[in-house]
Amino acid sequence: MSSRTSLQNPPGSTSTLVALADPPVRQVDGAAMDYFLIEAVNALRSSSAVAAARAKKIEHDMAEAGLVPPPPPAKNPTSAQGQRDSMGSVSSKSAAVVDEEEEGVRTRLEAIGMHVGGNFAERLCRDRPLFGDSLDAIKFVCKDLWSSCWDKQVDNLRTNHRGVYVLQDNAFKPISRLSSWEGRNEALRRAKLYVALPAGIIRGALSRIGLHGTVVPEVAVLPQCQSCLSRIIFVRLVDFPTDWLPSGCAGTFQIKLPKNT
């Protein structure tokens, strides 16, 4: 089982200088970390729903008290029923409200990612020399950051030498096992939320290095069904897509850096 290292100093370390300079590396179970990240998105979604509901209530109360003009008539708040990805259908009555909530979750995920990414960069930079230029920093992200977070390196890096970099990963780990029983488009839509945290990690690492830019994630292709001939009939009869063998899922990150770097 792959394990990812969590680098923490155990309390009560010995007081020799060498031990302090190179603390022993602690490890975290890789599968547990993956589950945690998946569930974190769900937990944050319900948490931000609660926060949004609270804000709306306060607005409503203030409007009633006459302190602020009443808000424009809001559409029906959608599904109080769970929006967990592992269950059920999202009844999209008003797509606008859903998107607004998703924006809230995405910003929170990105903020968390920024903190994590910054600290990752801080730890990984310890034993390497200074960065030459911004290309150097992006290469550091592609190699060191990617392999310590997601166990592989970026598959393709392209740049237009004017501050835009495109990082392509053909089997991006957080979304490599994502599927939705409603079809590929639905799965693509859900995947957008799950890449918010990794995008935040990249952005945080870059901003700690000193390059403040934007990171835009794109998900092009999700796990496809690779069925052999004998099964095609089966799928048509029952009519739901299953993915037995993920054949490829691409995630692309587009990084825009300001021109003077």
Binding site: L17, N119, R126
Partner: protein, 160 residues
């Protein structure tokens, strides 16, 4: 047996040249070590902005003043660490100073990974400031404790 190194002061400076933490271990005046840290900044700038032959993090001896010698280190994330060692006649080995810097960098990393720092910082600082200026403040004690530990460890290092 040569006497152990005496660490007089440690200074952490942010990428925007704001002080994060200046910790002194001598009974003398603290202001002197603020001054030492400040002048080290100039020397560091000189060394960094020279021709890009230097990709080393450890900057070595920056300069020596009355009774202290200042050594510098810059992380790839542009955080500068300056330590002031009491001048001795004995040879100061690079390896020891480098491991002292690495230990200080680890202490900084631990202090800064605290997710509760942002709660405090969000109310005070603007967006452009380095968000971890508060880590040296008096509310966050563990950073100082770690730095104290490192200075004790440095004092205990004996030649082998």
């Amino acid at each position: 047996m040569p006497p152990p190194l005496r660490l007089n002061a440690v200074a952490f400076i942010s990428p925007q040249n704001h002080p994060i933490l200046i910790r002194t271990f001598q009974k003398g005046d603290e202001l002197k070590y603020h001054y030492v840290a400040h002048t080290s900044l100039d020397v560091i700038e000189e060394r960094i902005s020279g021709d890009s032959k230097s990709t080393e993090c450890y900057l070595g001896l920056l300069y020596a003043m009355d009774d202290v010698a200042a050594y510098g280190y810059i992380t790839p994330l542009k955080v500068k660490i300056v330590i002031a060692l009491a001048l001795t006649d004995s040879v100061v080995r690079d390896a020891e100073v480098i491991s002292a810097f690495k230990a200080l960098h680890m202490a900084f990393y631990h202090a800064v990974s605290n997710p509760f720092l942002k709660l405090d910082a969000a109310t005070n600082s603007g967006n452009d400031q380095y968000p971890y200026l508060l880590v040296g403040g008096s509310k966050w004690k563990s950073f100082r404790q770690r730095v104290d530990e490192i200075s004790k460890a440095l004092g205990n290092v004996t030649s082998t």
